[in-house]
């Protein structure tokens, strides 16, 4: 096990990096399985953007905490409890509606976060964010188009999309969770206030859901723990798959 970084900005960068890596892996699981060739290409393109952002953030986190950890250390040599991604991104792909809805809910959050972070007091995080804003704008457009088509589509697609929304909604509360780390990075000017992000996210998501004739869930169940390394059951299986090759053949290269 690798010790958890103590520097708040390093931990914050690690959380964002883990979000990107984990969602990237989930999307890559669609490769050769998407409903159409164009979607296969779209989802893996989005995965590649997220992976690129994650790599830059891992490098920044390792600089901030002075650990000198490599990308492979982060991706392949940490155990489940060391990953600090939010629970939303690790949720299984489900049917296409679940993947689209996860993408809508998370890309909206990322677009708000990256936009604010492009003015971070940490110049390197600001630079990563300014590039990511352009990329996530495409991701959100893609998710929005699909949400409208599926939500306001056939009776079957509407039912499935509403079910996907109901299933994933509880995990969105965690995106705006405030803890000692976020309070420190907000105070340092490194990161935006989660409460401000929540207001922008609410308005943006509500607008799309209304247009897609979907009903915003009213559940108050709000599981958290991802930011502290406590994950849902499906995440261990995903990690086992993602890390298998590197752990079976340490240092493998090709």
């Amino acid at each position: 096990m690798i010790a958890v970084a103590a520097d708040p900005a390093a931990v914050y960068a690690l959380r964002l990096a883990d979000d990107g890596l984990v969602l990237s892996h989930r999307l890559a699981q669609w490769s050769s399985r998407a409903p159409a060739l164009e979607e296969d290409v779209a989802l893996t393109n989005i995965a590649l953007d997220l992976l690129g952002q994650a790599r830059a953030l891992y490098a920044r986190s390792a600089e901030l905490d002075g650990s000198g950890r490599s990308e492979d250390d982060y991706a392949f040599l940490r155990d489940e409890r060391d990953f600090l991604n939010c629970l939303l991104v690790e949720q299984e792909n489900g049917d296409f509606a679940v993947t689209v809805m996860r993408q809508l809910l998370f890309s909206t959050f990322q677009l708000e976060a990256w936009t604010a972070l492009s003015e971070s007091s940490d110049m390197q995080i600001a630079a990563i964010a300014a590039k990511a804003v352009k990329e996530v704008t495409y991701h959100l457009d893609h998710a929005t188009q699909w949400t409208l088509r599926l939500g306001d589509g056939s009776a079957e697609s509407h039912v499935r999309t509403q079910a996907a929304l109901d299933q994933l909604w509880p995990y969105t509360a965690e995106l705006f969770e405030n803890d000692a780390v976020t309070r420190d990075v907000v105070a340092q000017g490194v990161a935006p206030d989660p409460e401000r992000l929540r207001m922008e996210w609410d308005a943006s998501v509500d607008h799309v859901l209304r247009q897609a004739t979907l009903e915003r869930p009213s559940t108050s169940w709000a599981p958290t723990g991802g930011r502290r390394g406590l994950h849902t059951e499906c995440f261990g299986y995903m990690l086992a798959e993602m890390q298998h090759l590197h752990r079976a053949h340490p240092g493998a290269q090709w």
């Binding site: 290409v41 393109n45 590649l48 690129g52 630079a127 990563i128 990329e135 495409y138 457009d141």
Partner: protein, 161 residues
């Protein structure tokens, strides 16, 4: 002497081609950001990625280093800089022409949002302005897939970024 070395290194580095679109040099793409040669002969080359996850970047980085070394400058560092973020507006006119001839519709100017809406993406095969987007994501991160309604040819579009 230092000025001459700088010009030479800049030309050599700028001639490295993009492995995914080999008609374009990194100078055409606008991803070669800066070249510096100090008094001791140490060379610094700054490049910037197009997209964060661009898989060509590591190869471009290695190609730049080996080209500069082959030109006689053994002490070279290739830096990846992220800011300011790359935009297709940095692509040269020569690069846009080469793309079109290669069969890829070049990116339109982004500088003015209004202008972008008014300029159609022309088919690189027949020149028709009657084209439509088939998929926003295509074979590489920087391209979209379009179709020409005049000649029915599908073609990639280097999308504005």
């Amino acid at each position: 002497m230092v000025t001459t070395a700088l010009e030479r290194v800049r030309r050599v580095a700028g001639e490295v081609v993009d492995p995914e679109i080999p008609v374009l040099t990194i100078d055409d793409l606008g991803i070669l950001r800066d070249v510096r040669v100090d008094a001791s002969g140490h060379v610094d080359v700054d490049i910037t990625p197009t997209y964060s996850g661009c898989p060509a970047l590591d190869m471009i980085r290695a190609d730049v280093a080996s080209s500069v070394r082959a030109a006689g400058y053994a002490d070279v560092t290739v830096n990846v800089v992220l800011s300011p973020a790359w935009t297709t507006d940095w692509m040269s006119e020569v690069g846009r022409r080469k793309l079109r001839e290669y069969g890829i519709a070049p990116p339109r100017p982004r500088e003015s949002g209004m202008q972008l809406l008014q300029i159609a993406v022309a088919c690189p095969a027949c020149g028709s302005a009657h084209t439509s987007e088939v998929a926003h994501f295509a074979s590489t991160q920087c391209q979209a897939l379009r179709r020409c309604t005049a000649c029915a040819e599908p073609f990639p579009h280097f999308k504005e970024h």
